[in-house]
Protein backbone atom coordinates (compact mmCIF):
# COMPACT_ATOMS: atom_id res chain seq x y z
CA UNK A 1 0.00 0.00 0.00
CA UNK A 2 1.62 3.22 -1.26
CA UNK A 3 5.00 1.59 -0.66
CA UNK A 4 6.83 3.58 -3.30
CA UNK A 5 5.60 6.92 -1.98
CA UNK A 6 6.40 5.92 1.58
CA UNK A 7 9.93 4.92 0.67
CA UNK A 8 10.67 8.13 -1.23
CA UNK A 9 9.12 10.14 1.61
CA UNK A 10 11.24 8.35 4.22
CA UNK A 11 14.40 8.80 2.17
CA UNK A 12 13.63 12.51 1.74
CA UNK A 13 13.11 12.77 5.50
CA UNK A 14 16.45 11.08 6.21
CA UNK A 15 18.25 13.31 3.71
CA UNK A 16 16.85 16.44 5.34
CA UNK A 17 18.50 15.49 8.63
CA UNK A 18 21.61 13.56 7.70
CA UNK A 19 23.42 13.83 11.02
CA UNK A 20 20.49 12.52 13.00
CA UNK A 21 19.88 9.74 10.49
CA UNK A 22 23.53 8.69 10.73
CA UNK A 23 23.57 8.71 14.52
CA UNK A 24 20.36 6.69 14.57
CA UNK A 25 21.90 4.16 12.22
CA UNK A 26 25.18 4.02 14.13
CA UNK A 27 23.98 1.36 16.57
CA UNK A 28 22.80 -0.84 13.70
CA UNK A 29 26.02 -0.16 11.75
CA UNK A 30 28.20 -1.18 14.70
CA UNK A 31 26.05 -4.19 15.52
CA UNK A 32 25.83 -5.60 12.00
CA UNK A 33 29.43 -4.59 11.30
CA UNK A 34 30.82 -6.52 14.24
CA UNK A 35 28.68 -9.59 13.54
CA UNK A 36 29.85 -9.64 9.93
CA UNK A 37 33.47 -9.02 10.91
CA UNK A 38 33.42 -11.82 13.48
CA UNK A 39 31.71 -14.33 11.21
CA UNK A 40 34.05 -13.53 8.29
CA UNK A 41 37.06 -13.68 10.56
CA UNK A 42 35.90 -17.01 12.01
CA UNK A 43 35.42 -18.39 8.50
CA UNK A 44 38.89 -17.23 7.52
CA UNK A 45 40.41 -18.95 10.55
CA UNK A 46 38.44 -22.16 9.84
CA UNK A 47 39.56 -22.35 6.24
CA UNK A 48 43.17 -21.53 7.13
CA UNK A 49 43.21 -24.18 9.84
CA UNK A 50 41.61 -26.76 7.54
CA UNK A 51 44.19 -26.07 4.85
CA UNK A 52 47.06 -26.16 7.30
CA UNK A 53 45.85 -29.33 8.96
CA UNK A 54 45.41 -31.24 5.72
CA UNK A 55 48.91 -30.14 4.69
CA UNK A 56 50.21 -31.41 7.99
CA UNK A 57 48.52 -34.72 7.41
CA UNK A 58 45.47 -34.37 9.56
CA UNK A 59 43.68 -36.93 7.44
CA UNK A 60 46.11 -39.55 8.67
CA UNK A 61 45.69 -42.03 11.48
CA UNK A 62 48.41 -42.00 14.11
CA UNK A 63 49.34 -45.02 16.19
CA UNK A 64 51.55 -44.35 19.19
CA UNK A 65 52.69 -45.81 22.48
CA UNK A 66 51.46 -44.09 25.59
CA UNK A 67 51.42 -44.74 29.32
CA UNK A 68 48.41 -46.66 30.65
CA UNK A 69 48.20 -44.36 33.62
CA UNK A 70 48.12 -40.74 32.56
CA UNK A 71 50.05 -39.79 35.72
CA UNK A 72 53.07 -41.88 34.73
CA UNK A 73 55.84 -39.59 33.68
CA UNK A 74 57.56 -40.94 30.59
CA UNK A 75 61.05 -39.56 30.11
CA UNK A 76 62.61 -42.59 28.51
CA UNK A 77 61.19 -45.47 26.55
CA UNK A 78 62.60 -48.94 26.73
CA UNK A 79 62.85 -50.70 23.38
CA UNK A 80 60.75 -53.52 24.80
CA UNK A 81 57.86 -51.10 25.32
CA UNK A 82 58.06 -49.72 21.82
CA UNK A 83 56.86 -51.10 18.52
CA UNK A 84 59.43 -52.97 16.49
CA UNK A 85 59.65 -52.72 12.73
CA UNK A 86 58.75 -56.41 12.55
CA UNK A 87 55.54 -55.78 14.44
CA UNK A 88 54.74 -52.87 12.14
CA UNK A 89 55.39 -55.04 9.08
CA UNK A 90 53.15 -57.75 10.49
CA UNK A 91 50.42 -55.22 11.15
CA UNK A 92 50.74 -53.72 7.69
CA UNK A 93 50.54 -57.14 6.10
CA UNK A 94 47.37 -58.01 8.01
CA UNK A 95 45.59 -54.80 7.00
CA UNK A 96 47.14 -54.49 3.54
CA UNK A 97 43.65 -54.26 2.07
CA UNK A 98 42.80 -51.10 4.04
CA UNK A 99 46.10 -49.26 4.28
CA UNK A 100 47.38 -47.24 1.36
CA UNK A 101 50.53 -46.01 3.05
CA UNK A 102 52.43 -46.22 6.31
CA UNK A 103 55.13 -43.94 7.53
CA UNK A 104 57.74 -44.26 10.23
CA UNK A 105 60.33 -41.70 11.04
CA UNK A 106 63.21 -41.02 13.35
CA UNK A 107 64.10 -37.45 13.98
CA UNK A 108 67.76 -36.72 13.94
CA UNK A 109 69.84 -33.71 14.82
CA UNK A 110 69.58 -30.21 13.53
CA UNK A 111 72.47 -28.84 11.60
CA UNK A 112 73.77 -26.84 8.74
CA UNK A 113 74.53 -27.77 5.18
CA UNK A 114 77.76 -26.02 4.30
CA UNK A 115 79.58 -25.43 1.06
CA UNK A 116 82.24 -22.80 1.29
CA UNK A 117 80.52 -19.55 2.25
CA UNK A 118 77.13 -20.95 1.46
CA UNK A 119 75.00 -22.60 4.05
CA UNK A 120 71.45 -23.76 4.73
CA UNK A 121 69.83 -24.75 8.03
CA UNK A 122 68.42 -28.28 8.14
CA UNK A 123 66.85 -30.70 10.54
CA UNK A 124 67.63 -34.30 9.80
CA UNK A 125 64.79 -36.79 9.62
CA UNK A 126 65.07 -40.48 9.01
CA UNK A 127 62.07 -41.66 7.00
CA UNK A 128 60.67 -44.61 5.06
CA UNK A 129 59.15 -44.50 1.53
CA UNK A 130 55.62 -44.19 2.94
CA UNK A 131 56.53 -40.89 4.58
CA UNK A 132 56.36 -39.07 1.27
CA UNK A 133 52.67 -39.68 0.63
CA UNK A 134 51.47 -39.37 4.19
CA UNK A 135 53.19 -36.05 4.78
CA UNK A 136 52.38 -34.64 1.33
CA UNK A 137 56.01 -34.22 0.34
CA UNK A 138 56.25 -32.94 -3.20
CA UNK A 139 59.37 -34.44 -4.73
CA UNK A 140 60.24 -32.20 -7.67
CA UNK A 141 63.51 -33.70 -8.88
CA UNK A 142 64.99 -37.15 -8.57
CA UNK A 143 63.26 -39.51 -6.15
CA UNK A 144 62.31 -39.98 -2.52
CA UNK A 145 63.92 -42.42 -0.06
CA UNK A 146 63.44 -46.04 -1.25
CA UNK A 147 63.38 -49.43 0.47
CA UNK A 148 66.82 -50.23 -0.92
CA UNK A 149 68.25 -47.09 0.72
CA UNK A 150 66.93 -48.35 4.04
CA UNK A 151 68.13 -51.90 3.59
CA UNK A 152 71.59 -50.72 2.70
CA UNK A 153 71.57 -47.75 5.07
CA UNK A 154 72.88 -45.67 2.20
CA UNK A 155 74.26 -42.20 2.76
CA UNK A 156 71.59 -40.53 0.61
CA UNK A 157 69.38 -37.54 1.26
CA UNK A 158 66.33 -35.82 -0.15
CA UNK A 159 66.73 -32.06 0.34
CA UNK A 160 64.50 -29.02 0.01
CA UNK A 161 64.53 -26.68 -2.96
CA UNK A 162 65.46 -23.99 -0.46
CA UNK A 163 68.65 -25.80 0.47
CA UNK A 164 69.44 -26.26 -3.21
CA UNK A 165 69.04 -22.57 -3.95
CA UNK A 166 71.08 -21.60 -0.86
CA UNK A 167 73.96 -24.01 -1.55
CA UNK A 168 74.07 -24.41 -5.32
CA UNK A 169 72.65 -21.00 -6.33
CA UNK A 170 71.19 -22.63 -9.43
CA UNK A 171 74.66 -23.24 -10.93
CA UNK A 172 74.53 -27.01 -11.19
CA UNK A 173 72.09 -29.87 -11.10
CA UNK A 174 72.02 -30.92 -7.42
CA UNK A 175 71.14 -34.56 -8.14
CA UNK A 176 74.08 -36.82 -7.47
CA UNK A 177 76.02 -34.01 -5.76
CA UNK A 178 77.38 -34.40 -2.27
CA UNK A 179 76.23 -32.21 0.57
CA UNK A 180 78.13 -31.74 3.85
CA UNK A 181 76.03 -31.52 6.96
CA UNK A 182 77.57 -30.06 10.06
CA UNK A 183 75.93 -31.10 13.33
CA UNK A 184 77.09 -31.16 16.94
CA UNK A 185 78.23 -34.72 16.33
CA UNK A 186 80.45 -33.67 13.47
CA UNK A 187 80.39 -33.74 9.66
CA UNK A 188 78.40 -36.17 7.59
CA UNK A 189 78.25 -36.30 3.82
CA UNK A 190 75.17 -37.37 1.90
CA UNK A 191 74.52 -37.82 -1.79
CA UNK A 192 71.48 -35.89 -2.94
CA UNK A 193 69.01 -38.22 -4.67
CA UNK A 194 65.97 -35.98 -4.66
CA UNK A 195 64.71 -32.44 -4.17
CA UNK A 196 61.30 -31.62 -2.74
CA UNK A 197 59.40 -28.36 -2.76
CA UNK A 198 59.41 -26.77 0.67
CA UNK A 199 56.09 -25.24 1.73
CA UNK A 200 55.96 -22.99 4.71
CA UNK A 201 52.78 -22.92 6.72
CA UNK A 202 51.56 -20.70 9.50
CA UNK A 203 52.63 -23.38 12.00
CA UNK A 204 56.16 -23.93 10.79
CA UNK A 205 58.49 -21.03 10.48
CA UNK A 206 60.86 -22.81 12.87
CA UNK A 207 62.01 -19.65 14.55
CA UNK A 208 63.93 -18.41 11.56
CA UNK A 209 64.59 -14.68 11.50
CA UNK A 210 64.84 -14.48 7.73
CA UNK A 211 63.56 -16.58 4.87
CA UNK A 212 67.13 -17.53 4.03
CA UNK A 213 67.68 -19.02 7.48
CA UNK A 214 64.53 -21.12 7.45
CA UNK A 215 65.30 -24.59 8.74
CA UNK A 216 64.07 -27.20 6.27
CA UNK A 217 63.91 -30.96 6.76
CA UNK A 218 66.58 -33.16 5.21
CA UNK A 219 65.31 -36.69 4.69
CA UNK A 220 67.61 -39.68 5.02
CA UNK A 221 66.87 -43.43 5.23
CA UNK A 222 65.30 -44.25 8.60
CA UNK A 223 67.81 -47.07 9.18
CA UNK A 224 70.62 -44.54 8.93
CA UNK A 225 68.98 -42.29 11.50
CA UNK A 226 68.43 -45.23 13.81
CA UNK A 227 72.18 -45.85 13.99
CA UNK A 228 72.58 -42.85 16.27
CA UNK A 229 69.20 -43.16 17.97
CA UNK A 230 68.60 -44.29 21.53
CA UNK A 231 65.74 -46.60 20.62
CA UNK A 232 65.75 -48.99 17.72
CA UNK A 233 62.00 -49.50 17.96
CA UNK A 234 59.33 -46.93 17.16
CA UNK A 235 57.03 -45.16 19.53
CA UNK A 236 54.73 -44.05 16.74
CA UNK A 237 53.83 -44.48 13.12
CA UNK A 238 51.26 -42.94 10.81
CA UNK A 239 49.10 -44.50 8.17
CA UNK A 240 46.68 -43.47 5.50
CA UNK A 241 43.65 -45.47 4.44
CA UNK A 242 42.60 -46.49 0.99
CA UNK A 243 39.66 -44.62 -0.47
CA UNK A 244 36.32 -45.88 0.78
CA UNK A 245 37.64 -47.34 4.05
CA UNK A 246 35.67 -45.94 7.00
CA UNK A 247 38.20 -44.36 9.33
CA UNK A 248 36.08 -44.72 12.48
CA UNK A 249 35.46 -48.45 12.25
CA UNK A 250 39.04 -49.03 11.13
CA UNK A 251 40.29 -47.09 14.13
CA UNK A 252 38.43 -49.30 16.58
CA UNK A 253 39.52 -52.42 14.69
CA UNK A 254 43.21 -51.63 14.99
CA UNK A 255 42.78 -50.45 18.57
CA UNK A 256 41.70 -54.00 19.39
CA UNK A 257 44.63 -55.39 17.41
CA UNK A 258 47.19 -53.37 19.33
CA UNK A 259 45.49 -53.97 22.67
CA UNK A 260 46.06 -57.66 22.08
CA UNK A 261 49.72 -57.07 21.23
CA UNK A 262 50.22 -54.98 24.38
CA UNK A 263 47.99 -56.98 26.72
CA UNK A 264 50.95 -58.12 28.85
CA UNK A 265 52.47 -54.68 29.15
CA UNK A 266 51.40 -53.19 32.48
CA UNK A 267 52.87 -49.76 31.95
CA UNK A 268 52.16 -48.95 28.31
CA UNK A 269 49.49 -49.31 25.71
CA UNK A 270 48.98 -48.21 22.13
CA UNK A 271 46.75 -45.29 21.35
CA UNK A 272 45.16 -44.80 17.94
CA UNK A 273 44.37 -41.25 16.99
CA UNK A 274 42.03 -40.53 14.16
CA UNK A 275 42.93 -36.95 13.26
CA UNK A 276 39.98 -36.55 10.94
CA UNK A 277 37.59 -36.84 13.86
CA UNK A 278 39.62 -34.49 15.94
CA UNK A 279 39.77 -31.93 13.16
CA UNK A 280 36.00 -32.11 12.78
CA UNK A 281 35.61 -31.73 16.54
CA UNK A 282 38.00 -28.81 16.61
CA UNK A 283 36.18 -27.12 13.73
CA UNK A 284 32.86 -27.51 15.45
CA UNK A 285 34.30 -25.96 18.61
CA UNK A 286 35.69 -23.11 16.53
CA UNK A 287 32.29 -22.64 14.89
CA UNK A 288 30.58 -22.60 18.26
CA UNK A 289 33.02 -20.04 19.61
CA UNK A 290 32.54 -17.75 16.65
CA UNK A 291 28.76 -18.16 16.90
CA UNK A 292 28.90 -17.26 20.58
CA UNK A 293 31.01 -14.18 19.93
CA UNK A 294 28.69 -13.18 17.10
CA UNK A 295 25.75 -13.57 19.46
CA UNK A 296 27.42 -11.22 21.92
CA UNK A 297 27.99 -8.75 19.09
CA UNK A 298 24.32 -9.09 18.25
CA UNK A 299 23.56 -7.46 21.58
CA UNK A 300 24.94 -4.29 20.04
CA UNK A 301 22.23 -4.73 17.45
CA UNK A 302 19.60 -4.82 20.15
CA UNK A 303 20.96 -1.57 21.58
CA UNK A 304 20.92 -0.14 18.06
CA UNK A 305 17.31 -1.21 17.69
CA UNK A 306 16.35 0.53 20.91
CA UNK A 307 18.08 3.67 19.57
CA UNK A 308 15.99 3.48 16.42
CA UNK A 309 12.83 3.10 18.48
CA UNK A 310 13.78 6.10 20.59
CA UNK A 311 14.28 8.31 17.53
CA UNK A 312 11.08 7.04 15.95
CA UNK A 313 9.16 8.01 19.09
CA UNK A 314 10.73 11.48 18.95
CA UNK A 315 9.84 11.66 15.30
CA UNK A 316 6.20 10.76 16.01
CA UNK A 317 5.97 13.49 18.63
CA UNK A 318 7.63 16.04 16.37
CA UNK A 319 5.27 15.21 13.57
CA UNK A 320 2.08 15.04 15.62
CA UNK A 321 0.58 17.92 13.65
CA UNK A 322 1.58 16.35 10.36
CA UNK A 323 -0.08 13.11 11.44
CA UNK A 324 -3.25 15.04 12.36
CA UNK A 325 -3.23 16.74 8.97
CA UNK A 326 -2.74 13.47 7.15
CA UNK A 327 -5.68 11.98 9.05
CA UNK A 328 -7.84 14.99 8.22
CA UNK A 329 -6.91 14.55 4.57
CA UNK A 330 -8.21 11.00 4.74
CA UNK A 331 -5.24 8.81 5.66
CA UNK A 332 -6.43 5.63 7.31
CA UNK A 333 -4.68 4.59 10.54
CA UNK A 334 -3.11 1.65 8.74
CA UNK A 335 -1.45 3.99 6.29
CA UNK A 336 0.05 6.14 9.06
CA UNK A 337 1.33 2.99 10.74
CA UNK A 338 2.82 1.79 7.47
CA UNK A 339 4.53 5.14 6.90
CA UNK A 340 6.43 4.96 10.19
CA UNK A 341 7.28 1.28 9.91
CA UNK A 342 8.65 1.85 6.41
CA UNK A 343 10.75 4.72 7.73
CA UNK A 344 12.15 2.60 10.55
CA UNK A 345 12.84 -0.33 8.21
CA UNK A 346 14.65 1.98 5.79
CA UNK A 347 16.83 3.41 8.57
CA UNK A 348 17.72 -0.10 9.73
CA UNK A 349 18.27 -1.49 6.23
CA UNK A 350 20.58 1.35 5.19
CA UNK A 351 22.35 0.96 8.54
CA UNK A 352 22.59 -2.78 7.94
CA UNK A 353 24.07 -2.35 4.47
CA UNK A 354 26.64 0.18 5.72
CA UNK A 355 27.36 -2.22 8.59
CA UNK A 356 27.97 -5.12 6.20
CA UNK A 357 30.42 -3.03 4.17
CA UNK A 358 32.12 -1.84 7.35
CA UNK A 359 32.33 -5.38 8.76
CA UNK A 360 33.73 -6.82 5.53
CA UNK A 361 36.38 -4.11 5.38
CA UNK A 362 37.31 -4.85 8.98
CA UNK A 363 37.52 -8.62 8.34
CA UNK A 364 39.47 -8.05 5.15
CA UNK A 365 41.97 -5.82 6.94
CA UNK A 366 42.30 -8.36 9.76
CA UNK A 367 42.71 -11.43 7.59
CA UNK A 368 45.16 -9.81 5.19
CA UNK A 369 47.40 -8.59 8.03
CA UNK A 370 47.41 -12.12 9.44
CA UNK A 371 48.02 -13.65 6.03
CA UNK A 372 44.80 -15.60 5.99
CA UNK A 373 42.37 -16.27 3.20
CA UNK A 374 39.50 -13.73 3.15
CA UNK A 375 36.19 -15.47 2.58
CA UNK A 376 32.99 -13.52 1.96
CA UNK A 377 30.04 -15.34 3.48
CA UNK A 378 27.01 -14.54 1.34
CA UNK A 379 24.52 -16.18 3.72
CA UNK A 380 25.88 -14.12 6.62
CA UNK A 381 25.40 -10.93 4.59
CA UNK A 382 21.87 -11.82 3.54
CA UNK A 383 20.92 -12.87 7.06
CA UNK A 384 22.38 -9.64 8.49
CA UNK A 385 20.52 -7.37 6.10
CA UNK A 386 17.34 -9.39 6.59
CA UNK A 387 17.79 -9.26 10.33
CA UNK A 388 18.26 -5.49 10.32
CA UNK A 389 14.99 -5.19 8.38
CA UNK A 390 13.33 -7.28 11.08
CA UNK A 391 14.79 -4.99 13.74
CA UNK A 392 13.29 -2.07 11.80
CA UNK A 393 9.87 -3.69 11.85
CA UNK A 394 10.14 -4.78 15.48
CA UNK A 395 11.38 -1.50 16.92
CA UNK A 396 9.37 0.63 14.50
CA UNK A 397 6.09 -1.08 15.30
CA UNK A 398 5.43 0.52 18.68
CA UNK A 399 6.13 4.13 17.56
CA UNK A 400 4.12 3.52 14.39
CA UNK A 401 1.19 2.18 16.35
CA UNK A 402 1.39 5.20 18.63
CA UNK A 403 1.27 7.49 15.59
CA UNK A 404 -1.65 5.61 14.07
CA UNK A 405 -3.66 5.82 17.29
CA UNK A 406 -3.34 9.61 17.63
CA UNK A 407 -6.66 11.40 17.86
CA UNK A 408 -6.81 13.69 14.80
CA UNK A 409 -8.36 16.57 16.74
CA UNK A 410 -5.72 16.44 19.45
CA UNK A 411 -3.01 16.02 16.84
CA UNK A 412 -4.20 19.01 14.81
CA UNK A 413 -4.28 21.16 17.91
CA UNK A 414 -0.74 20.08 18.96
CA UNK A 415 1.73 22.94 19.18
Amino acid sequence: MFLKENISLAVAGLKSNKMRAFLTMLGIIIGIGSVIAIVSFGNAISSSVTDAMSNLGATNIYVYVTARDSDTYVDKFDDSDLISMDEIDKFQEKYAGDISGLSVSQSGESGKAVDGHNYANVSISGVNPGYEGINNIKTEKGRFIRDNDIKGSRQVAVVSDKLVSNIFKGRTDPLGKKVNIETEAGYTTYTIVGVYKYESSMFSNNGAVSAKDTRTPLYIPVSLAKEDAENQNYYQFALRLKNGVDSNSFTSKIEQYWNKVYKDNTKFKVQVENAENELAEMMSVLDKVSMAVAAIAAIALLVGGVGVMNIMLVSVTERTREIGTRKALGARSGYIKMQFIVESVIICTIGGIIGVIFGLLLAWAGTSTMGMKFVISVPAILISVGFSMLIGIFFGYYPAKKAAKLDPIEALRYE
Partner: protein, 236 residues
Protein backbone atom coordinates in the same frame (compact mmCIF):
# COMPACT_ATOMS: atom_id res chain seq x y z
CA UNK B 1 -34.08 23.72 -5.75
CA UNK B 2 -30.89 21.96 -4.65
CA UNK B 3 -31.11 19.44 -1.79
CA UNK B 4 -29.31 19.49 1.55
CA UNK B 5 -25.70 18.42 1.49
CA UNK B 6 -25.56 18.44 5.30
CA UNK B 7 -28.37 17.39 7.62
CA UNK B 8 -27.65 17.55 11.34
CA UNK B 9 -30.45 16.46 13.68
CA UNK B 10 -30.52 16.72 17.49
CA UNK B 11 -26.75 16.52 17.66
CA UNK B 12 -25.30 16.44 21.19
CA UNK B 13 -21.66 16.30 22.18
CA UNK B 14 -20.60 15.79 25.77
CA UNK B 15 -17.11 15.35 27.18
CA UNK B 16 -16.01 13.54 30.35
CA UNK B 17 -19.26 11.60 30.26
CA UNK B 18 -20.27 10.12 33.60
CA UNK B 19 -17.83 12.17 35.65
CA UNK B 20 -18.74 15.08 37.94
CA UNK B 21 -17.20 17.55 35.50
CA UNK B 22 -19.14 16.32 32.46
CA UNK B 23 -19.18 19.02 29.78
CA UNK B 24 -22.07 19.69 27.42
CA UNK B 25 -20.31 21.28 24.47
CA UNK B 26 -23.03 20.95 21.83
CA UNK B 27 -26.68 20.96 22.94
CA UNK B 28 -29.21 19.60 20.49
CA UNK B 29 -27.95 21.17 17.27
CA UNK B 30 -30.19 21.07 14.20
CA UNK B 31 -28.59 22.41 11.04
CA UNK B 32 -29.24 21.80 7.36
CA UNK B 33 -26.93 23.18 4.73
CA UNK B 34 -27.99 23.41 1.11
CA UNK B 35 -25.81 22.10 -1.65
CA UNK B 36 -23.88 24.97 -3.25
CA UNK B 37 -24.37 27.23 -0.25
CA UNK B 38 -21.83 29.49 1.39
CA UNK B 39 -22.36 29.42 5.13
CA UNK B 40 -20.42 31.07 7.92
CA UNK B 41 -20.49 29.67 11.45
CA UNK B 42 -19.54 32.35 13.95
CA UNK B 43 -19.10 32.37 17.66
CA UNK B 44 -16.71 33.38 20.39
CA UNK B 45 -14.02 30.98 21.51
CA UNK B 46 -15.50 28.33 23.80
CA UNK B 47 -18.86 28.64 22.09
CA UNK B 48 -18.61 25.13 20.62
CA UNK B 49 -18.00 26.17 17.01
CA UNK B 50 -14.74 24.22 16.76
CA UNK B 51 -16.47 21.11 18.07
CA UNK B 52 -19.23 21.63 15.51
CA UNK B 53 -16.57 21.92 12.82
CA UNK B 54 -15.02 18.64 13.99
CA UNK B 55 -18.47 17.06 13.74
CA UNK B 56 -19.06 18.39 10.23
CA UNK B 57 -15.57 17.23 9.25
CA UNK B 58 -16.20 13.78 10.80
CA UNK B 59 -13.04 14.12 12.85
CA UNK B 60 -15.15 13.32 15.89
CA UNK B 61 -18.28 11.35 16.65
CA UNK B 62 -21.37 12.87 18.29
CA UNK B 63 -22.59 11.63 21.68
CA UNK B 64 -26.07 11.43 20.21
CA UNK B 65 -28.01 12.69 17.21
CA UNK B 66 -27.50 12.07 13.51
CA UNK B 67 -25.35 13.56 10.80
CA UNK B 68 -26.11 12.87 7.16
CA UNK B 69 -23.47 14.05 4.71
CA UNK B 70 -24.29 14.06 1.00
CA UNK B 71 -27.12 11.61 1.61
CA UNK B 72 -25.07 9.18 3.70
CA UNK B 73 -25.53 8.71 7.45
CA UNK B 74 -22.19 8.74 9.24
CA UNK B 75 -23.52 7.37 12.53
CA UNK B 76 -22.52 3.75 12.20
CA UNK B 77 -19.32 4.15 10.24
CA UNK B 78 -16.03 2.53 11.17
CA UNK B 79 -12.88 4.61 11.61
CA UNK B 80 -11.65 3.61 8.16
CA UNK B 81 -14.97 4.60 6.60
CA UNK B 82 -14.77 7.98 8.32
CA UNK B 83 -11.22 8.37 6.95
CA UNK B 84 -12.57 7.71 3.47
CA UNK B 85 -15.38 10.25 3.98
CA UNK B 86 -12.84 12.91 5.03
CA UNK B 87 -10.76 11.98 2.05
CA UNK B 88 -13.42 12.18 -0.62
CA UNK B 89 -16.24 14.39 0.68
CA UNK B 90 -14.51 17.04 2.75
CA UNK B 91 -11.82 19.54 1.85
CA UNK B 92 -10.14 20.91 4.98
CA UNK B 93 -8.54 24.36 5.07
CA UNK B 94 -6.77 25.18 8.35
CA UNK B 95 -5.83 28.44 10.00
CA UNK B 96 -2.18 27.34 10.14
CA UNK B 97 -2.20 25.91 6.60
CA UNK B 98 -0.82 22.53 7.77
CA UNK B 99 1.16 21.78 4.65
CA UNK B 100 3.26 18.63 5.07
CA UNK B 101 6.88 19.72 5.58
CA UNK B 102 9.58 18.44 3.17
CA UNK B 103 6.88 17.87 0.57
CA UNK B 104 6.68 20.44 -2.22
CA UNK B 105 3.45 22.14 -3.21
CA UNK B 106 2.70 19.55 -5.87
CA UNK B 107 3.24 16.63 -3.46
CA UNK B 108 0.99 18.29 -0.90
CA UNK B 109 -1.83 18.63 -3.43
CA UNK B 110 -1.25 15.06 -4.57
CA UNK B 111 -1.59 13.67 -1.04
CA UNK B 112 -5.41 13.32 -0.76
CA UNK B 113 -5.44 11.71 -4.20
CA UNK B 114 -2.69 9.33 -3.08
CA UNK B 115 -4.88 8.25 -0.17
CA UNK B 116 -7.79 7.87 -2.58
CA UNK B 117 -5.73 5.54 -4.74
CA UNK B 118 -5.56 7.77 -7.82
CA UNK B 119 -2.69 6.69 -10.06
CA UNK B 120 0.50 8.73 -10.34
CA UNK B 121 0.05 10.35 -13.74
CA UNK B 122 -3.52 11.41 -13.11
CA UNK B 123 -2.57 12.72 -9.68
CA UNK B 124 0.16 14.94 -11.02
CA UNK B 125 -2.02 16.26 -13.86
CA UNK B 126 -4.87 17.19 -11.52
CA UNK B 127 -2.51 18.69 -8.92
CA UNK B 128 -0.91 20.86 -11.59
CA UNK B 129 -4.32 22.05 -12.78
CA UNK B 130 -5.42 22.89 -9.24
CA UNK B 131 -2.21 24.77 -8.44
CA UNK B 132 -2.55 26.72 -11.68
CA UNK B 133 -6.15 27.51 -10.73
CA UNK B 134 -5.14 28.99 -7.34
CA UNK B 135 -2.35 30.96 -9.02
CA UNK B 136 0.51 28.79 -7.77
CA UNK B 137 1.41 27.25 -11.14
CA UNK B 138 4.90 28.75 -11.06
CA UNK B 139 5.72 27.53 -7.55
CA UNK B 140 4.70 23.89 -7.78
CA UNK B 141 8.10 22.57 -6.78
CA UNK B 142 8.63 24.91 -3.85
CA UNK B 143 8.89 23.51 -0.34
CA UNK B 144 6.36 24.86 2.18
CA UNK B 145 9.09 26.80 4.02
CA UNK B 146 9.86 28.65 0.78
CA UNK B 147 6.31 30.00 0.51
CA UNK B 148 4.61 33.00 2.14
CA UNK B 149 1.53 32.58 4.30
CA UNK B 150 -0.87 33.53 1.52
CA UNK B 151 0.87 31.20 -0.91
CA UNK B 152 0.72 28.36 1.60
CA UNK B 153 -3.00 28.89 2.08
CA UNK B 154 -3.58 28.85 -1.67
CA UNK B 155 -1.71 25.53 -1.90
CA UNK B 156 -3.83 24.29 1.01
CA UNK B 157 -7.03 25.27 -0.83
CA UNK B 158 -5.82 23.48 -3.96
CA UNK B 159 -5.13 20.44 -1.75
CA UNK B 160 -8.62 20.67 -0.18
CA UNK B 161 -10.16 20.56 -3.66
CA UNK B 162 -8.05 17.63 -4.85
CA UNK B 163 -10.68 14.90 -4.60
CA UNK B 164 -13.52 17.21 -5.67
CA UNK B 165 -15.16 17.13 -2.21
CA UNK B 166 -18.80 17.82 -1.42
CA UNK B 167 -17.89 20.61 0.97
CA UNK B 168 -14.97 22.92 1.61
CA UNK B 169 -14.56 23.22 5.36
CA UNK B 170 -12.41 26.19 6.34
CA UNK B 171 -11.40 26.88 9.93
CA UNK B 172 -10.33 30.54 10.34
CA UNK B 173 -8.58 30.40 6.95
CA UNK B 174 -7.48 34.04 7.15
CA UNK B 175 -6.67 34.01 10.87
CA UNK B 176 -2.91 33.81 10.35
CA UNK B 177 -2.77 36.19 7.38
CA UNK B 178 -2.57 39.97 7.05
CA UNK B 179 -5.69 41.69 5.74
CA UNK B 180 -4.66 41.97 2.08
CA UNK B 181 -3.57 38.33 1.71
CA UNK B 182 -6.62 37.37 3.77
CA UNK B 183 -8.73 39.22 1.21
CA UNK B 184 -7.10 37.27 -1.62
CA UNK B 185 -7.84 33.98 0.12
CA UNK B 186 -11.48 35.02 0.70
CA UNK B 187 -11.77 35.94 -2.97
CA UNK B 188 -10.51 32.49 -3.85
CA UNK B 189 -13.27 30.92 -1.71
CA UNK B 190 -15.86 33.08 -3.49
CA UNK B 191 -14.41 32.05 -6.84
CA UNK B 192 -14.57 28.35 -6.00
CA UNK B 193 -18.09 28.77 -4.64
CA UNK B 194 -19.47 30.78 -7.56
CA UNK B 195 -17.65 29.15 -10.46
CA UNK B 196 -17.62 25.50 -9.30
CA UNK B 197 -20.77 25.65 -7.18
CA UNK B 198 -18.86 24.17 -4.27
CA UNK B 199 -20.48 24.23 -0.83
CA UNK B 200 -18.32 26.32 1.50
CA UNK B 201 -18.52 26.15 5.30
CA UNK B 202 -16.49 28.91 6.91
CA UNK B 203 -15.77 28.84 10.62
CA UNK B 204 -14.70 32.27 11.89
CA UNK B 205 -14.92 34.67 14.76
CA UNK B 206 -14.49 37.63 12.37
CA UNK B 207 -17.99 39.12 11.88
CA UNK B 208 -16.94 41.15 8.87
CA UNK B 209 -15.82 38.05 6.93
CA UNK B 210 -18.89 36.13 8.08
CA UNK B 211 -21.18 38.69 6.47
CA UNK B 212 -19.70 37.80 3.06
CA UNK B 213 -21.40 34.40 3.30
CA UNK B 214 -24.90 33.84 2.01
CA UNK B 215 -25.94 32.60 5.43
CA UNK B 216 -24.61 33.34 8.89
CA UNK B 217 -25.16 30.92 11.78
CA UNK B 218 -24.20 32.17 15.23
CA UNK B 219 -23.44 29.67 17.97
CA UNK B 220 -23.21 30.40 21.66
CA UNK B 221 -22.83 28.04 24.62
CA UNK B 222 -23.30 25.04 22.38
CA UNK B 223 -26.55 26.15 20.78
CA UNK B 224 -27.48 28.01 17.59
CA UNK B 225 -28.81 31.39 18.65
CA UNK B 226 -29.11 33.07 15.27
CA UNK B 227 -29.48 31.86 11.66
CA UNK B 228 -29.88 34.54 9.00
CA UNK B 229 -28.77 35.70 5.55
CA UNK B 230 -25.42 37.45 5.19
CA UNK B 231 -25.31 41.16 4.52
CA UNK B 232 -22.88 40.78 1.64
CA UNK B 233 -19.32 41.84 1.11
CA UNK B 234 -18.25 44.94 3.04
CA UNK B 235 -17.71 47.92 0.76
CA UNK B 236 -14.04 48.89 0.67
Amino acid sequence: MAGNIIEINNLVKNYYIGTPNELHILKNINLNIQEGGFIAIVGASGSGKSTLMNMIGVLDRPTSGTYVLDGVSTSDMTDNELSDIRNKKIGFVFQTFNLIPRNNALKNVELPMLYAGVNGKERIKRAEELLAMVGMGDRMYHQPNELSGGQKQRVAIARALANDPAILLADEPTGALDSSTGRMVMDLFHEVHERDGKTVVLITHNPELAEEAGRVVTIKDGAIIEDRAGRGKAEV
